[in-house]
Structures are given as structure tokens and as C-alpha cells.
Subunit: 200 residues, 4 copies
């Protein structure tokens, strides 16, 4: 009754309007789910809780996601994308020394920036159900970046670049996990310095 044009009275929403509704709603649901999965765990979080947190009805969730499992898949998929992106690797083709050092430093910083993402990131690796569900997708997504790292080590003349890559990867994951476990007290800056000394 406000300023809608005459010909739209009582006509169905346009495709654009529907698109907007769809993306905003499904984002709200996904955000609620991420936050709950991260703070409580996947199994323990119920659809009802997600609905309440997102401010929608239980039923609506199933308009946007096929199942609880698919909510998780969606979220994890986005989490992995955003992690690699924030590490600065998705924007470049190969690493030089500066980019490599930045990568190491960022690896620690992003944990504090978004603890929820990392809680999920590690849950994925240690919850057997989740792992079997998503490992393939994760690996496919990570492959190009891992290759980039290995190429860097090859260029730097390492005897066994693949070994070095696995080593550094494991070390970074360990530190990230510890930051996640104790974000208040973990000496991020000190460890950052040690890392840079030893690995660059």
C-alpha cells in the first residue's frame, strides 16, 4: 500500500526478490549452524536449535538444505575456501620468499580472527563421521595450494620437498590447534617468531 507500482499489486515476487530472500535466509541459517556446530559439536546440535538461533521455523531449514548433513557439508566447504583465500594463496600462482613468510604468519593470525571456523576445521579432522563425509571434497579443494607449497620447496633446493611440505603442514596445524584450544593464553607472537626463524 506504500509506493508499489500499480502493476505489481498482487503479483508474485520477481526472480530477483526471490533470489535475495533465498541467499539471505540460507546465510542466516548457515551462520547459526556454524556457530552452534563450532561451540557444541555437530551431533549435539539439533535442527530445532539451529532454527531458533536463526529465527526461522524448523520446516524452512529444509527448504534451503536437504538435510542436517548437507548443512554441515555446505559450511565446511565454505570454511575451507575461506581459509585458503585468507591465507593469500588463492590469489597467486606461485610463492616467493615474501609470500611464503606471509603465509606462515597469516596461518596463525587467522585462527584468532575466526575461532569458530577453526573449531569446525579441526572437528572435521577428528570426528570420524565427518571426516569420511568430507575428506574427498577437502582434498580436492586443497590440492592446488599444496602443490604450490611443494613447488616452493623444490625451488629452494630441499632434498625432499614433499616431506618438507608435510612437515610444515603438520607443524602449522599443531600450532593452530593449540591457539584454538587456548586463544587467551597461547603465546602467538612468540611462536610466530620462532616459526619464522626456523622455517624461512
Amino acid at each position: 500500500m506504500t509506493d508499489r507500482s500499480v502493476k505489481n499489486i498482487m503479483s508474485p515476487r520477481t526472480k530477483e526478490q526471490l533470489e535475495v530472500i533465498k541467499t539471505t535466509k540460507s546465510q542466516r541459517i548457515a551462520e547459526a549452524a556454524l556457530s552452534l556446530f563450532a561451540s557444541q559439536g555437530y551431533e549435539v546440535t539439533s535442527i530445532s536449535q539451529i532454527a531458533r538461533e536463526a529465527g526461522v521455523s524448523k520446516g524452512l531449514i529444509y527448504n534451503y538444505f536437504e538435510s542436517k548433513e548437507h548443512i554441515l557439508k555446505d559450511i565446511v566447504s565454505k570454511v575451507f575456501e575461506s581459509v585458503w583465500e585468507r591465507l593469500g594463496l588463492s590469489q597467486i600462482d606461485s610463492l616467493d620468499d615474501t609470500a611464503y613468510r606471509a603465509f606462515i604468519v597469516k596461518s596463525l593470525d587467522i585462527v584468532l580472527d575466526d575461532l569458530d571456523h577453526f573449531r569446525l576445521y579441526f572437528a572435521v579432522f577428528t570426528q570420524p563421521m565427518v571426516i569420511s563425509l568430507l575428506m574427498d571434497e577437502i582434498m580436492a579443494k586443497s590440492a592446488p595450494y599444496l602443490e604450490m607449497l611443494q613447488n616452493y620447496y623444490t625451488e629452494k633446493g630441499y632434498d625432499d620437498p614433499a616431506l618438507q611440505m608435510r612437515y610444515v603442514g603438520a607443524v602449522l596445524d599443531g600450532i593452530q590447534m593449540h591457539i584454538m584450544l587456548d586463544p587467551e593464553n597461547f603465546p602467538v607472537d612468540g611462536v610466530k617468531k620462532l616459526l619464522v626463524e626456523q622455517f624461512t
Copy 2:
């Protein structure tokens, strides 16, 4: 507990004998639970499954454990004990260079020796429910060994022994996690060598 009916007249079980039976059954239950929790996850494992796997009735489980949660607590508690014990730290009072190097090497070896323990070990750290349930106990149990490590770094003249301890701890956890995730392919020996070079 005194005179138990006709068929036990000749040899009523002593308290010790009862204890033996109890230990045996409760061990079987705990072992079944450990294996299932590790391979499937805690939430997803049902009491019925544990009972089936342990070859006992559902009801009996509640004779030995207060609740499903308590089974987990018990197991995790034992897992942590056994980890420190196997690392060789529970038998000594302080570290020298040899013991320290052995500790590093062992840290990797024990993962392959008992994958189930480590699956649970990491699940504990990343499953929010579990963590809040058990963090205190774990910390209390680990404290003396962490102190021992810190003392070693102090003696070796490190600027910031606490930092070093946290750093090494995180690195070892990271590598352990990666071994656990890919026990077949992870280059344990190569990484062991790199670790010894860098951290001893």
C-alpha cells in the same frame, strides 16, 4: 556379601574374587567403548553397540558405569595416563638430553602403536562437549610432565622456557594428528629426523 545361598556354600567368593570379575567385565566394556568411540565418535556410538561389542547386556554396563558420559571420562582418563607413561616421562623425575630425544622420537612412534588411543586423544581436544567435560582432569594429569619439560628448557638456557615448551608441544601434537589422519602414507621417519635436527 556373606553367605550366598546353596550353590556358593562351599566357596563363597572373596571380595578379591569379586573384584577380579568386575575388573574383567568392566575392562571389556571399556575396551569395546574405546574402540567404537575412536572409530565412530562418541555421540554416534550407542550403549547397545558397546554392549554387543563387549558381549554383555545393556543393563550390566550400568552396574559398572554411571552413564555413557562416565564411560568416556574413564576411558579418556586412562588414555591420558597411558600416553604419558608410554612416553617414558612417568618413570623419571627430570629430563636429560638422552631422555628428551627419546621423548621426541617416542611421541611419534606411539601414535602408530595405538591409533585408537590417538583418535580419542584428538577427538577430546576438538569435540566441544568432551573438552569442557574433561579439560580440568587432563590438565591436572599432564601438569607434572609439562613442568618437567619446562625445567629441561630452563636448564638448557632457553630465553623463554615456557614459550619453548608450548611451541614444541604444539608441533608434536600437529605431527601426531597428521600421522593419525594418514598413518599409511605419512613420512614418519623423515619427519622424525627433521624434528631431532631442529629440536635437540
Copy 3:
């Protein structure tokens, strides 16, 4: 505290006791389900309703039946057995004239004897979901009796015994269905006479 023998105090139920409980309870559930399926239809009957009718909890039903579908399978399977048995064919190896005439007459009588069974019997044939679920089993169960009928027609010298068998089968089913639809008014006796005149 009544007349239980000393050694049974606090001991688990014997296998026989458990067997009795199992069969009586699962019968109660199956009977409740049969009555509801017959009077309302399969889809429209809820597990809650069955539980209420049987006087048990919803959960218990799943101790005895894998799923709602399996309740139906079980019931239908038994219904078919009992129909053939009541028709007197499961007790003999081949038909003579007397047995054949008895078979025709009985075919009508049993409908009135147990309407619920026949409501289910016809529902099976016309509800697409049910049919696809059970057709194979039904056919396997009916095969020997159909063969017996065909043999009878062969012996009586029919040109096309298979055709005759299908014809009579269809006719009987049609009449059974009409009895079921209007058990009060359908002229069972009159039709019985007509049938015997024409088909024996």
C-alpha cells in the same frame, strides 16, 4: 516374594520366559496394527496409534519390528498363509471334485469370517506402494496352490487349464471383494449357488 524358588531371586528371566514375552507382545502389536491397517489404511495409521491400541510404548514397537513397513510385511505374510490354510489347500496335495467344490464355497465363507484380513488382502492388491513391496513374496507363497488348481483343470480335460484357472481366480476375487465391501447385504448364499452351478 510369593512362591519363587530361592535361587531365582534377582536372576535374569529364562530364555523361555523371554520367548513368551516376545511372542505375546509382538502378537499384540501385530493384531493392533492389522485392525488399524484394515480399517483405516496403512499410510494413515501411525505408529503412535498402533502403540496406543496395543497398550505399549512407541519405542517398544521397534524392539519387535524393524520399521512400520516391516509390520505390514509381517502381517500380510501371515494373512496370506492363513487364507490358503483356511481354504483347505495347504493340507492336501491334489484336488478332487469334492475338495474343489469345498474350495469354491469356502472362498466366500472366509471373507465374512475375517473381514479385516480381506480388507488387507485387497488393499495389498490395489495400493501401489504395498504391491511393489510384497508382490514377490505373495506370488512365491501362492504358487503351489495355483499349480494344484491348474492340475485339477488339466485332469478335468479343459482346453486351456491355465486360462480357466485365471478366470476362476478373477471371478472369486471379484466376489470376495464385493462381500468385503458390503458384508451385510451381499447375497452370499445366492451367489454361492450360482457359482457352484457354473464352475463345478
Copy 4:
């Protein structure tokens, strides 16, 4: 249907045109529903499925039909009309021998011509919910034709024309049902011959 111009300014739709569109859409909905009800069953078919199959929105269905139940009522009502019409009885006032024989023969033929209609036709008789919903209407619609048949039997001098009518009706239904259940293999022609021999 003339020149429908830029946005209808030239010729706003007349009431008849609206009616045409309505008929078309509601027919499409009804056809989709018939096909799905017949192949899957009423309960198991969802409004969404009907909408998808008919190529309209869920909402629109409720412009044309009060509820899911009313779709069924509408369809069944039409199915019964068309069956009597196709049997050739709705065009005449009374039966002679030729018309009667044609009626018998047609009774079988129309099943193969439109299996979906007959799937629904029999579902109506065996699904208790549906039956209670529609029996009255069906009976009212069938009454005149049943009377016509009874008159025919009276004229032919049958002792009990009502009995004969019920008998033949049941027989035909039985055969129709069997054709429906196994349209590929049922010996329609053979049975047709037997029927004509026995009942004309």
C-alpha cells in the same frame, strides 16, 4: 483468444476466456494428480509433486481445489462418470441383447485402455479412507445404470434379477482387477470368450 495485444488494453479478458484458462489449468492439475494417485497412491503423493508434474505452483492448486482431499473427490467423480460413459450405458435407456453383450466385452477392454483410471477405481474400493469419503456419491452416480441392468435381467426372466446383477457385477470387477494387476499377461481375449459363453 483473438488479438491479445500489449498487456490486454485492447481486449481485457472476458469471463469466458478466464473460464477457459481456469479449465485448462485445473485440468492439468487434475490430470497430474490422477496419474500420480494411480501410480503411487493418494497418501503418498504430495501437493508439491502434483504442482511439479502439472507445471504450476503449489499455491495455484489451492485456487482451484479446496484441499488435497477435494482433488481426489473431483477426480474420482470424473473417473466414475467416464467409466459408465465408455461402457455405452449413459447413452441409452434400456439394454437389449446386443447392447448387453457389448457391455460385457467393453467392460474388459476399457481397463487396458486406461489403466490409471482403473487403478484409482479399485483403490477407491479398498482404501478405507477414500471409500467412506466417496461411497455415497459413487452409489448415486451408478444407480441408474445398475437399475438398467436389473431391468434387463428381469426381462430375460431371471428368478432373482437383483442377485444376478450383483453376481455379474462382482465377476466383472474381479476380472477387471486382474487385468489391472497384470495387464501384460492376463488372457483378456480368452476370458472374454468364456464370459460371453456363460453370461449371455
